[in-house]
Symmetry: C2
Subunit: 159 residues, 2 copies
């Protein structure tokens, strides 16, 4: 999970929402990814999807049997689906996402017995760090917006 | 939808589950895709994801506002999430997927008011064709498996 967190830090440095993920097979990292939505202008470029795609390339297989995914934040709908579609048996996530998390927060999609695959889920590894980096990121964005509004107000006063 | 169906036929010719999708913007096709899971050995290579990625490239934007997605089969969890993440306002699908469909069959995920985006959904365009090509595909697979088992049985009888 520390390597997933390193991926999240890479995303933050690029101005992306700081989420990172790695896929492990036989104790080896076979795929890693961090959020690249803004840089790539691609709605699907979430950390988990990129890590899963990389892992599929490494194994030359769309089935990620005997693999584990580690991700700093609870997966969204798309990433939960990518986990199901790749038949990953096990994931670990750091902190919950109460607004869009589909593994525990809004739904428990990875444990739906009607689907042809279920996933073992563990949470809480690197919870504080994963939560803190997200909070810091969004606070910085809010601060920047406030400063921008204030500077606009000041420039209007001089017009 | 006829172009989405053309994409599904391309998938069938390649031995892939025959599903096709297109994204339309101002009456222009800006992204198209067909299922390439087996060829690419990529669990994320579903028709909708590929069409959305292509549309993002065309617009150089992860936000697919004012776009419509046409897909021959009801989207799965991953593709429903990709639709939400790209903020597509409207989708049309051909036929339901009772085993993994997340738009009407198992859940109505695109209409969850707790998420920051909802999607208008229409279904039934090219329903018969989209359903038939899927049924034919899976029947052919079953027939091939039966023949394979039978030929194995015959060869065993001669051993």
């Amino acid at each position: 999970m520390s390597l997933a967190f390193e991926e999240a830090k890479k995303a933050k440095l690029m101005g992306e929402v700081p989420i990172g993920a790695v896929v492990v097979h036989n104790n080896q990292i076979i795929g890693r990814g961090h959020n690249l939505r803004e840089k790539n202008q691609d709605a699907t470029a979430h950390a988990e999807v990129l890590a899963i795609q990389a892992a599929c390339r490494t194994l030359n297989s769309w089935r990620l049997w005997d693999c584990q995914l580690f991700v700093t934040v609870e997966p969204c709908m798309m990433c939960s689906g990518a986990i199901i579609n790749s038949q990953l048996p096990e994931i670990y996530f750091g902190t919950r996402d109460p607004k869009a998390g589909m593994v525990q927060s809004l739904y428990q999609l990875l444990n739906d017995q009607r689907l042809n695959h279920q996933v073992r889920v563990s949470e809480g590894l690197f919870q504080k760090e994963s939560s803190q980096i997200m909070q810091d990121f969004f606070r910085e964005i809010r601060d920047r917006r406030k400063k921008f509004k204030k500077s606009k107000q000041i420039s209007r006063n001089f017009e």
